[in-house]
């Protein structure tokens, strides 16, 4: 180490001795001990002994050494024993180089420089057959065309145990009736494209509770004095069909059951059309639906005052609001969504409502005043898996906001108690922003809550939060379940099970679109040729050239990754399509399919948005080698050739060797 240090100090940092002197000395030494011998060796004249050589030469070509030489040519020819060699060495070498070029060079060159164009044609050809609607030139009915390609099998359970009469063939006859009705609806109403088939199953010994808990469709039969039916869609999926003796006698029960199933579970009336027009509820707005597996609930308490605040979400696991309102809500969406809850308390912030002079009833006025952008201070845009919904309770401390009752506010409650009564829910103005969330604006002033006493802190108890949260969840339910607003209160389970199936279809649809987008990008983008080369082609031929290029050269090179991803997406999608069309699907399985469909949808997004490919600058390793090969080749060939030559070369000069041999012989 000490040695290294001294070397470092003396040579790297050269503080001790002047480097210049040292350097000069070393240069001098190198000159004397290396330079001079090398110079001598290199410059000395190569003076080999030629006498013995010449002596033998005199014997071989005596005519040249003759003093007078009249017949030189004939003398020379006398000495020659003519033997024509097969091929000259030079020609051999050239030939071998040529051969190497043709048989090794050309294939290697071709292989290295060809564009990485994985064969997508077979894949795309089969895709054209599977999703013909996307490849049509003019495309007016994309959604219904997409649905035509889907075969969906949904099970419905019929409870035949403990019925008033025994119906041994009701299952089969109802199934036949269902099939017939489905076909007829499709033909008659014309709005329906999806190939839905309903698989009727006998409940057997499974208790009805199991079907309720697992959100399965269940049909119960009830003997009565009249015919009819009623449904439960809120907490379970059940239709009860009431039948009388006459209906059994006339054998209309299968028709009754089949109609009840279809009209309550799967079809709905079209609002604008004829009363008899029915439409599959699974088909509604499939294309517009955008499923994201993660939901972020951002709960904000905003106080425009200098007061310490907290609310009953502080200890999440003990909060009543959380346990009794939010948690049950989230459990309904178990397996469909994952929730991320963020509780924020912001101080000295008013969302621009402090000086809002407008009437509390004027929604338009509020809309222009409210500044929700202050809440979104994330630097990055969330990824496709996230969806953010906001819940905001704001205390703007605005003196202009009277405690006026309005249509938008939560209903009036009267405060009878005079104790610590400070706020009741009627003092909140609620305002919903579509797809964003709910804002609850407190209409009073915190500072005037208690006369003569200054507030130190504010604590929002669950009794005030509960109604606000319920209002909020009612607002976001239609967003999460992609249903109509009124369904949130009446058909919770029905909406969610319907949503799961629609989301699967939507994911498949979006995946198909992405596959088509990759196809378009590769085959439809115009191939750009170098403009300087265009000048060589007469102007009138240039459009033909463009056409030719587009036809024969795909515009983007396709990395292997994209190709394999595309294959993966298509195979996963086809497997799922198969699964949707098999018997024995349950609600849990549909939830699993939803996950699978989103995973391949995500993969298709990644495939389509592959940065390098989209930028058109994908260059494989092969290209890099191909670019450097012309440089590498000559350098390598010289080096390798030189080395081989060096190894082959004998150490001694052949003439000297000969001479030495001769001397030996003489001795």
């Amino acid at each position: 180490m000490a040695f290294l240090d001294s070397v470092k100090r003396n040579f790297l940092y050269r503080e001790n001795l002047s480097l210049r002197r040292k350097a000069s000395l070393s240069v001098l030494l190198i000159y004397f001990f290396i330079g001079l011998p090398v110079w001598y060796h290199l410059t000395k004249i190569d003076q080999y002994e030629l006498d013995p050589l010449m002596d033998s030469e005199k014997l071989k070509t005596p005519y040249l050494f003759k003093e007078n030489n009249p017949k030189e040519e004939s003398d020379f020819l006398k000495e020659i024993n003519l033997k024509i060699p097969n091929l000259s060495l030079r020609r051999k070498a050239s030939l071998s180089v040529l051969l190497i070029y043709f048989f090794i060079g050309l294939p290697v060159w071709y292989h290295l420089t060809k564009i990485d164009q994985y064969e997508l044609d077979p894949l795309m050809d089969s895709e054209k057959l599977k999703t013909p609607y996307l490849f049509k030139e003019n495309n007016p009915k994309e959604e219904s065309d997409f649905l035509k390609e889907i075969n969906l099998k949904i099970p419905v359970n019929l409870n035949l145990t403990n019925t008033f009469y025994k119906f041994p063939d009701l299952l089969n006859s109802t199934q036949r009736e269902l099939d017939g009705l489905l076909g007829r609806y499709k033909d008659e109403y014309g709005f329906n494209s999806l190939n839905l088939s309903i698989e009727l199953r006998d409940v057997g010994n499974t208790p009805a509770e199991w079907f309720y808990e697992n959100n399965e469709y269940l049909v119960q039969l009830q003997h009565d004095s009249y015919m009819g039916n009623y449904i439960y869609l809120y907490e379970k999926l059940e239709v009860v069909v009431q039948y009388d003796d006459r209906s059994v006698y006339e054998n209309v029960l299968p028709t009754l059951v089949a109609n009840s199933i279809l009209n309550h579970f799967f079809f709905e009336k079209i609002d604008v059309a004829n009363e008899f027009d029915r439409r599959l509820n699974l088909e509604k707005n499939v294309v517009g639906l955008k499923y994201t597996p993660k939901i972020k609930l951002v709960l904000n308490l905003i106080i425009n005052d200098n007061l310490l605040a907290d609310w009953d979400l502080k200890d999440f696991y003990q909060s009543k609001v959380m346990q009794e309102v939010l948690l049950p809500f989230m459990e309904m969406f178990e397996g469909v969504y994952k929730f991320e809850i963020e509780s924020n308390i912001l101080y000295n912030e008013d969302l621009n409502l402090k000086d809002w002079a407008g009437a509390a009833d004027e929604i338009d006025d509020l809309q222009s005043q409210l500044d929700i952008s202050r809440l979104s201070d994330r630097a990055f845009v969330d990824n496709i898996e996230d969806r953010v919904l906001n819940f905001v309770v704001v205390f703007p401390e605005n003196e202009n906001l009277g405690v006026k009752n309005s249509n938008n506010s939560i209903e009036e409650t009267k405060d009878d108690d005079d104790d610590d009564v400070i706020i009741s829910s009627n003092k909140f103005l609620s305002y919903n922003l579509p797809e964003w969330g709910s804002v609850f604006i407190y209409k009073g002033l915190l500072s005037k809550l208690e006369e003569g006493k200054d507030l130190d802190s504010v604590y929002l108890k669950d009794s005030i939060l509960e109604p606000l949260f319920i209002t909020f969840l009612k607002e976001i339910f239609p967003i999460l379940a992609s249903s109509k607003k009124e369904e949130g209160g009446e058909q919770v389970v029905f909406s969610i099970t319907k949503f799961i199936k629609k989301a699967i279809l939507s994911n498949i649809y979006r995946t198909n679109k992405n596959i088509k987008a990759v196809y378009d990008m590769i085959y439809k983008l115009p191939v750009v040729t170098d403009e300087s080369l265009n000048g060589l082609i007469p102007e009138e031929y240039q459009p033909y050239l463009q056409e030719f290029m587009n036809k024969f050269f795909p515009s983007l090179s396709i990395p292997q990754k994209i190709h394999s991803q595309l294959v993966e997406v298509i195979s996963q999608r086809d497997i799922l399509l198969e699964k949707l069309n098999t018997m024995g699907n349950t609600n849990d399985k549909f939830k699993q399919y939803l996950k699978e469909s989103f995973s391949f949808y995500k993969l298709s997004e990644e495939t389509f948005f592959d940065h390098e490919m989209v930028m058109g600058n994908y260059k494989s390793l092969k290209h890099i080698i191909a670019v450097y090969l012309p440089l590498l080749g000559p350098v390598c060939s010289i080096t390798i050739g030189g080395v081989i030559q060096l190894l082959k070369k004998t150490k001694k000069d052949p003439l000297i060797e000969k001479k030495e041999e001769k001397i030996k012989k003489e001795q």
Binding site: L327, I345, V421
Partner: protein, 574 residues
């Protein structure tokens, strides 16, 4: 099933809640026991009176977040239906910022101006909270290797650029260094024991980067105020005004962010310290408030020295008055609007330091009432919402607390300059002066130079004001050297020398350097202005300073390189 029925009852219960909530009225209560959120906020202001009427104002804010599980991988476990995070007054954009780049600690410093240690003494907080003129950034990043750390760094920079309206994204690999002797730079600032556990195969990387003389102005202050729960509207932060802050002789704003973990509870939280310091001259600031536009003093107010030549046309003004009094609102332009009520245990504090109480008086004004204390320290604790103002008066401004003045002497003076005026060669000279006559100091000299400033490290020459020191003695003063050579367009030159500066001695290091020609596009738009070279960092490591290292930054440099004639392409006639 249970959930569904619960939900049903809930929805149905809305109506019941709304119609029968007569007894359900205790919706908001004042109960201190309920407020047990672990987040907190504290604020304090130190006003330090220095010789020659200089005043250093130091605003300190401390924020602590609620417990947040730090790593996203453990957070988003698959079997959870939901995850939960809470923020009470703590800025919520910090967590995604740090998490996305896997950052555990972040020191961010915005500084403008040169700290004149001869006039003002030691830097506030031993110089840790202020950087060199411009912006400076230190960050502890968890990553697999240097490449990943670099990727994380660039992600962090692009986010910070947006958040702080600054050009952080220009701190790229040409400017980043990995400090070698980590302990010297962050001793006591990061506790290794409280850092979150490393994910398998990962390690921590301390990285540093800076932008010399990056302009700093009001839009950089706004994000700082936005981080505070008081938002600059109430509490001590209501004093802060960009115009006053950036009109000072020297100012510095810094954020120290740490992830602190408690391994027993397996939870972590963030600690955030925001320091804002600035230096003003009291009479000049008061005069400026009085006369915002620079007009000559009216004749009737002019105080002339009659012992010198004094006619109707000539007047030698008297030196500034020794006595004056003022309210800080006259300097800051604002008074303090209410105290911060966001911490029930700790109140807002104001201290006036460095004054001799015999000659100075201070008092706090609350609702037109003046209240004074003997130790010049004030706690804002009025129950009712009030406005506060601080009154300071003196009968002799030269009488300051001698003990504090003595303790305020800096342990080292540093200066750095470029030598030579050639366009292709030059030199760099750094001078260290140890003012102490009793003890030597050991320093760390941390230099980062851009690749286009080609320093010949081997040409280092050391000289000293002490002629008794021989060449070998001088050489032995550098006890440790770390050199990481620059790489063209990819790495700066990074030097870390440990040097002993003998007592009462001035030590000079000098190196030769070469100035290359750059590519056409590498010149900035104002190429003839020159290239700003960031400050060098000098850390005084000395047991005499209570094991608290003292940080000094040299001034920035302006390197002029040979500049091509950019107009030439346009001068060619077609």
């Amino acid at each position: 099933m249970r959930s569904n029925s619960l939900f049903l009852t809930l929805f149905l219960s809305i109506i019941t809640v709304l119609s029968t909530s007569k007894a359900n009225n205790n919706n908001i209560e004042l109960n201190k026991n309920d407020l047990t959120s672990s987040s907190s906020f504290q604020e304090s202001l130190d006003i330090n009176i220095l010789p020659r009427d200089y005043m250093l104002s130091s605003f300190n804010f401390k924020l602590q977040s609620d417990d947040i599980i730090p790593s996203t991988s453990s957070f988003d476990t698959n079997d959870n239906l939901f995850t939960f995070r809470k923020y009470n007054g703590f800025p919520k954009n910090i967590e995604p910022l740090l998490n996305s780049a896997n950052v555990k600690t972040l020191f961010l410093k915005f500084t403008r101006g040169h700290w004149d240690s001869h006039k003002w003494g030691k830097l506030p907080k031993n110089g840790f909270s202020s950087g060199g003129s411009g912006v400076e950034l230190w960050s502890l990043i968890e990553a697999k290797d240097k490449t990943e750390a670099m990727d994380n760094w660039s992600m962090l920079m692009s986010q910070l650029s947006g958040m702080f309206c600054s050009s952080f994204n220009f701190i790229n690999l040409e400017k980043i260094t990995f400090p070698k002797d980590i302990n010297s730079y962050i001793t006591g600032k990061i506790s290794v024991d409280s850092l979150p556990p490393l994910t398998n195969g990962n390690s921590y990387f301390l990285m540093r980067g800076s932008l010399a003389n990056e302009p700093i102005c009001t839009e950089n202050l706004s994000p700082f105020l936005k981080f505070l729960p008081t938002k600059g509207k109430v509490g001590l932060a209501s004093l802060l005004d960009g115009h006053i802050l950036f009109d000072s002789y020297w100012n510095s704003m810094s954020i120290d962010l740490n992830t602190v973990c408690d391994f027993d509870s397996e939870r972590c939280h963030y600690d955030m310290k925001i320091d804002i310091n600035f230096m003003i001259n009291i009479p000049k600031s008061l005069a400026r408030t009085k006369r915002p536009t620079p007009k000559p003093i009216p004749a009737e107010e002019l105080q002339c020295d009659t012992s010198k030549k004094f006619t109707e046309w000539e007047c030698f003004p008297l030196p500034d008055k020794k006595e004056y009094s003022f309210f800080i609102s006259e300097i800051f332009g604002n008074s303090i609007k209410d105290r911060s009520r966001l911490n029930l245990l700790s109140k807002s504090n104001i201290r006036v330091l460095g004054i001799d109480s015999d000659y100075w008086n201070t008092a706090i004004k609350v609702n037109d009432e003046l209240l004074g204390t003997a130790n010049n320290q004030y706690e804002l604790n009025s129950e009712a919402k009030s406005e506060y103002d601080l009154y300071i008066s003196t009968t002799d401004n030269s009488k300051l607390d001698s003990n504090l003045l003595k303790a305020n002497n800096p342990p080292l003076h540093v200066s750095r300059s470029l030598t030579g005026n050639s366009q292709d060669k030059g030199g760099l000279r750094v001078t260290f002066t140890n003012p102490s006559q009793t003890r030597d100091v050991i320093i760390k000299y941390y230099e980062t130079l851009p690749w286009f400033m080609r320093l010949y490290v081997s040409s280092l020459k050391i000289s000293s004001s002490d002629e008794n020191l021989s060449d070998s003695d001088l050489e032995n003063l550098i006890t440790d050297r770390f050199i990481s050579l620059s790489e063209i367009r990819s790495k700066p030159l990074h030097l870390e020398y440990t040097i002993i500066i003998p007592k009462g001695t001035t030590l000079t290091l000098q190196c030769d350097l070469e100035k290359p020609l750059l590519n056409y596009e590498e010149y900035p738009p104002d190429a003839n202005h020159g290239f700003e070279i960031e400050s060098a960092l000098v850390v005084v490591l000395d047991k005499y300073f209570n094991n608290k290292n003292y940080f000094i930054r040299t001034p920035t440099l302006l390197l002029s390189l040979a500049t091509p004639d950019f107009s030439m392409p346009y001068n060619v006639s077609p």
